[in-house]
């Protein structure tokens, strides 16, 4: 350990894998008998960027607080690299954390804030100065060390919070709604920057957010939480294309839900009847004939099908009436009614070359079977 080392790893350090693996098993937390987290099991791989996504009250923040050690689980276990940390106090867990509203110490300068975790670990003053400088470089704030947090903009405070959480080389970084207080433009910039940091540091990131865009852009995997448990875990595209239930389909992106009754199963495709029309849908299960199911499709994957050419086994078709048409800049949004009265939404990329549909018009719509899921 004689040669000075920085925050970023040498190639050989990197190859060993710096990120911690985290495992939650049957994690539960209840307050006065009411479960905030009801049996969460999750394996987070070393170096992974995992997001806990869910509406407020879904238990995502409580789960994060238990990993950080601020709350003790009612039952279940948390292991980091295979060792249980439930009995370890937060200040011995060696986990970096970025808080909502950043929680920068207002009485300390930026450099003192970032140096704080190093000071707790007895790092020499000289070494501290060097590491703080390096951390400021990493978050693109060189020269800001002497300022106080209230002299920084929201985005700069966020970067300082990030620098402070990684300067002591934790193997796991937790972030609780880190971008929640920022405006949209800044949020998008910082999302990219956090991805870059994740790639450079190659440590494990766990992010808590209620913002699906944030989750989809940044994460390797997303765990969608609802009512204290994990509804689905998967890569962003899997969750979007293959939501396993109605909650996930509705929470991530927008979905059309069509009630249908199963008429048969053809190899991996379910045939179901909706408003007298036969449709095909992909399904992970094989429901028996007659079962009531819900078919989900994404609004941007529907299209108007004026010419009948497009028919075929790979395509579902339906006759609908336009009940509302909204021009929203980059796309047009149509509210449609099926013959059975179900509402559907269709989003079409706007173009001066495409004819806009009028309210009351009867139209045919079509979409791919691959974009139809039984939920």
């Amino acid at each position: 350990m004689s040669e000075p080392r920085g925050i970023l790893d040498s190639p050989e350090e990197k190859s060993r894998g710096r990120g911690a693996s985290v495992s939650l098993s049957d994690l539960e937390k209840s307050y006065a008998g009411v479960a905030a987290v009801a049996g969460v099991s999750l394996d987070i791989r070393s170096g992974e960027f995992l997001t806990l996504l869910g509406p407020s009250g879904s238990g995502k923040t409580t789960t994060l607080m238990m990993i950080a050690g601020f709350q003790a689980p009612t039952s279940g276990d948390i292991t980091i690299d295979g060792a249980s940390v439930v009995a370890t106090p937060p200040y011995r867990r060696n986990i970096g954390m970025v808080f909502q509203n950043y929680a920068l110490f207002p009485h300390l300068t930026v450099a003192e804030n970032i140096g704080f975790p190093l000071k707790q670990r007895g790092v020499s003053k000289q070494e501290r100065t060097r590491l703080v400088g390096e951390a400021l470089e990493l978050v693109h704030l060189p020269g800001y060390g002497g300022r106080y947090p209230d002299q920084l903009s929201g985005g700069q405070q966020q970067r300082v919070a990030l620098a402070r959480a990684i300067v002591f080389k934790p193997r796991l970084l937790l972030m609780d709604e880190p971008l929640g207080a920022l405006d949209k433009q800044l949020r998008e910039n910082l999302q990219l920057e956090m991805r870059r940091l994740h790639a450079e540091l190659s440590i494990t990131f766990i992010l808590v957010t209620h913002d699906q865009d944030e989750a989809l852009t940044m994460s390797d995997r997303i765990a969608v939480m609802n009512d204290g448990s994990v509804a689905q875990v998967g890569r962003p595209e899997d969750l979007y294309d293959r939501p396993c239930n109605r909650f996930v389909a509705g929470f991530i992106g927008e979905s059309n839900f069509l009630p249908a009754a199963v008429r048969g199963v053809e190899s991996d495709v379910v045939v179901a009847e909706c408003d007298g029309v036969l449709m095909r849908a992909v399904s992970s299960v094989r429901p028996a004939s007659g079962t009531k199911v819900t078919l989900a499709t994404r609004p941007e994957r529907l299209r108007f099908a004026d010419r009948p050419v497009e028919s075929g086994l790979g395509v579902n078709r339906m006759s609908v009436t336009v009940s509302e048409a909204v021009f929203a800049g980059e796309r047009c949004r149509y509210l449609l009614k099926t013959e059975g009265g179900t509402s559907m939404v269709l989003k079409e990329a706007s173009s001066a070359a495409v004819r806009r549909r009028a309210v009351g018009e009867r139209v045919e719509i079509a979409w791919s079977v691959a974009d139809t899921i039984v939920v």
Binding site: M1, R5, E13, R16, R18, A20, T79, I80, D81, A83, S84, V85, A87, T88, P89, R92, R93, N94, L118, Q120, R121, G122, V123, F168, K169, R171
Partner: protein, 300 residues
């Protein structure tokens, strides 16, 4: 330590330590250990002395209620108690009348708010002696007010203003006015300004807005101010002694006199009555909705 230390520089990792049972128990005991010195202090140097003194009314010379049984027929006590209550009442009423407009102005002022606040806070934190002395200067036989009245031809010769009950009432109104203004201003500041705007939008006149929107919402502050001023006036001693009528003394002055004459039992029973009156008023007021909150006013 659960996180393997192979990759981290060793100096970045704290050595593991045993978390003994006593260390777990300590955080639970810490609050008590922190509060204990002051609590012990307050018991020894405040609660016990006051209670021992009050007990003299019950155990002098032996345990009985004699000192209280006599009070309803005690004309000196009745007269003093009546003067104390009526003075407190007059002072409370006049501070309310004078304090409300100032509180309203303070809660709405923008640029002039600091000035108004200074004009309220400086007297509040100025010694009661200094303020009483100021009224002695103003109300004296050759004081400013007499001289002014003479100069205006309203008086032919100086009149006695100092050492009257009126002097007590004026000086105490002056001294206690900040205690009325601050809780009311506090309550008024919490009134949502959009409510008044909404009422104006619905066609209410300024007077209507005040009476129907602002006044009702300031009532907790008014109740807190009235309570505070009344309780402080009840215990007043310095001001009536300096500017008041020496024949019309307050309960506090009577208590001090009795202590001077070493009539401890009598003084203690009077003290008990004074304390019971103050605590009784507070107990009643605490039951009014919202007063508890407004009572946590900012004395600064």
């Amino acid at each position: 330590m659960s996180v393997p230390t192979t990759i981290l520089p060793s100096r970045l990792v704290r050595g593991s330590r045993e978390w003994g049972a006593w260390k777990r128990a300590l955080p639970k005991l810490t609050p008590l250990l922190l509060a204990a010195p002051l609590l012990a202090y307050m018991v020894v140097f405040y609660a016990v002395p006051v209670v021992l003194m009050l007990l003299r009314s019950l155990n002098d010379p032996n345990w009985s209620l004699d000192h209280y049984v006599g009070l309803p027929g005690d004309t000196v006590f009745l007269r003093t108690f009546w003067i104390t209550l009526s003075t407190s009442f007059v002072v409370t009423l006049s501070t309310l009348v004078l304090g409300y407009p100032v509180a309203l102005a303070l809660s709405r002022a923008r640029s002039s708010a600091p000035l108004i606040l200074i004009l309220i806070l400086l007297p509040l934190w100025t010694s009661v002696l200094v303020r009483s002395y100021a009224w002695m200067v103003l109300l004296g036989r050759h004081g400013l007010i007499n001289e002014a009245l003479l100069a205006l031809g309203l008086l032919e010769r100086p009149t006695r203003l100092l050492n009257t009950t009126l002097a007590t009432e004026i000086a105490m109104t002056h001294i206690l006015l900040p205690y009325m203004i601050l809780p009311i201003a506090n309550a008024l500041r919490q009134v949502d300004p959009s409510l008044a705007r909404a009422a104006a939008g619905l066609g209410a006149t300024p007077w209507g807005i005040f009476r129907q929107v602002i006044l009702p919402q300031s009532m907790p502050g008014v109740a807190a101010g009235v309570l505070l001023v009344f309780v402080l006036a009840l215990g007043s001693y310095i001001t009536p002694a300096l500017v008041g009528d020496s024949r019309e003394i307050t309960l506090s002055m009577l208590i001090a006199q009795q202590v001077d004459q070493l009539n401890w039992a009598y003084a203690a029973s009077l003290s008990a009555v004074l304390l019971a009156t103050a605590l009784g008023l507070i107990a009643v007021a605490q039951r009014l909705p919202g007063v508890g909150n407004a009572f946590r006013m900012n004395l600064r």
